[in-house]
Symmetry: C2
């Protein structure tokens, strides 16, 4: 079972204060890039894997999605999502992405924001997502970028000439990475880009677009601290199609 950090009171409290929790999609710097990878929502049956507070679920419905199923492991997140939602075409349910059980061919779009890196058996999850999509259906997801996640000490350094650098090590050593983020001992699963993309291909997906988050000029003008995100990518985003 996936570690349920989001139901740790300290983690949940910290997470609830992040820009992306308070402001929703607009509070996530990578959202415009993800948005550009999404199909038009009109009439789509959508599943959101790791829906959190349900911001994407509500947005998809506002854009005309036929129905949205939001899944999350965290009771805390789901309770907050339900409290923020008044729409009979949005359903929320508890689910562990390690043991996803979805009807076959039921969805036009599977979406997931920053959840798959908590999953240990990504191969099995992708097979199940593939089966849950209709032929031609899309999967669009983001994860922490492996460059960001790989290092033993994932933090900025300054080199001898004053340059801010991200010291990469352990890139090829896949497996758990334990960090203290909002709470102690949060477990994520590091995989190389190659591994993630090959798992998609082997599950039967056709890769449509791969994006590594980099802030735009406008984003940096509005929020200068984003500039460092150009030095190394924090997020990897992928759009794929069920063949």
């Amino acid at each position: 079972m996936t570690q349920n950090a989001y139901d740790d009171p300290q983690f949940f409290e910290g997470y609830s204060r992040l820009g992306r929790s308070v402001e929703g999609l607009a509070g996530a710097a990578e959202w415009p890039a993800l948005l550009a990878m999404l199909p038009p929502m009109r009439d789509l049956k959508v599943v959101d894997l790791g829906c959190g507070f349900g911001w994407f679920c509500r947005w998809a419905r506002e854009q005309g999605a036929a129905s949205v199923l939001g899944l999350d492991l965290s009771e805390n997140m789901l309770a907050r999502a339900r409290a923020m939602t008044a729409d009979a075409a949005i359903a929320y349910a508890r689910a562990d992405l390690e043991r996803l059980d979805l009807p076959e061919g039921a969805f036009d779009l599977a979406y997931s924001s920053l959840a798959f890196h908590y999953v240990e058996d990504l191969a099995e999850l992708l097979r199940r997502v593939h089966r849950a999509l209709r032929p031609g259906g899309r999967l669009v997801f983001s994860i922490e970028h492996p460059i960001y996640m790989a290092p033993a000490a994932p933090s900025w350094a300054v080199d001898g000439e004053g340059r801010k650098t991200w010291p990469v090590d352990g890139y090829s050593r896949e497996g758990p990475r334990v960090t203290d983020w909002l709470a102690k001992g949060v477990v994520k699963h590091h995989r190389t880009i190659g591994t993630t993309l090959n798992l998609l291909i082997r599950a039967g997906f056709t890769l449509a677009h791969i994006e590594e988050f980099s802030p735009t000029e406008a984003q940096i003008a509005a929020k200068p601290e984003l500039a460092e995100e150009r030095e190394r990518p924090m997020f990897l985003m992928v759009a794929a199609r069920r063949g």
Copy 2:
């Protein structure tokens, strides 16, 4: 036009002494990984983009390829390749990958080892390679990995706890990277993984396999200095299919 570093006497002299120049394919640590991505050679019409001394061209013929065309910008490399080859089904010709001119649908396999990162206009090259392949034909290539190529100072550092790290910066800043490797001022073109893969997709290719070089246990046992290659990938290898 692509910089022709290989015809710089100092560069050529240095390059000629590398393991991969003296021993051929077996002298390149990433060759087993590339080999696993290649289709059986029997009866294939093959083009090698940046053929160097022709090691791959001769290997492909030994494996039963019907014909091999080896292209390179360097007269020095081509002269050496011709001197090492006695096979009427292998032809060598001078070509600039920035302005590749190949017959339509003429090849079953386009192969390229560590040449595409010298090319500025990769989009145009990939369109031309796509057109030169028959439908269903394959492109298999390696480039220097963008993690390896991006940094302003591409060299190992040691962090406060004695760990060897590869300090990444400038990952999102695409464009030329000038390094002194074998000769001064060698120009390579940095692109993110996302950019390279999206250019392939937009040229009409279907991605089949993405591999980031990491030495095997056996390789490290035979050559312990390869162990550091696990900390960050030096090479990116891609197999794609003309749809």
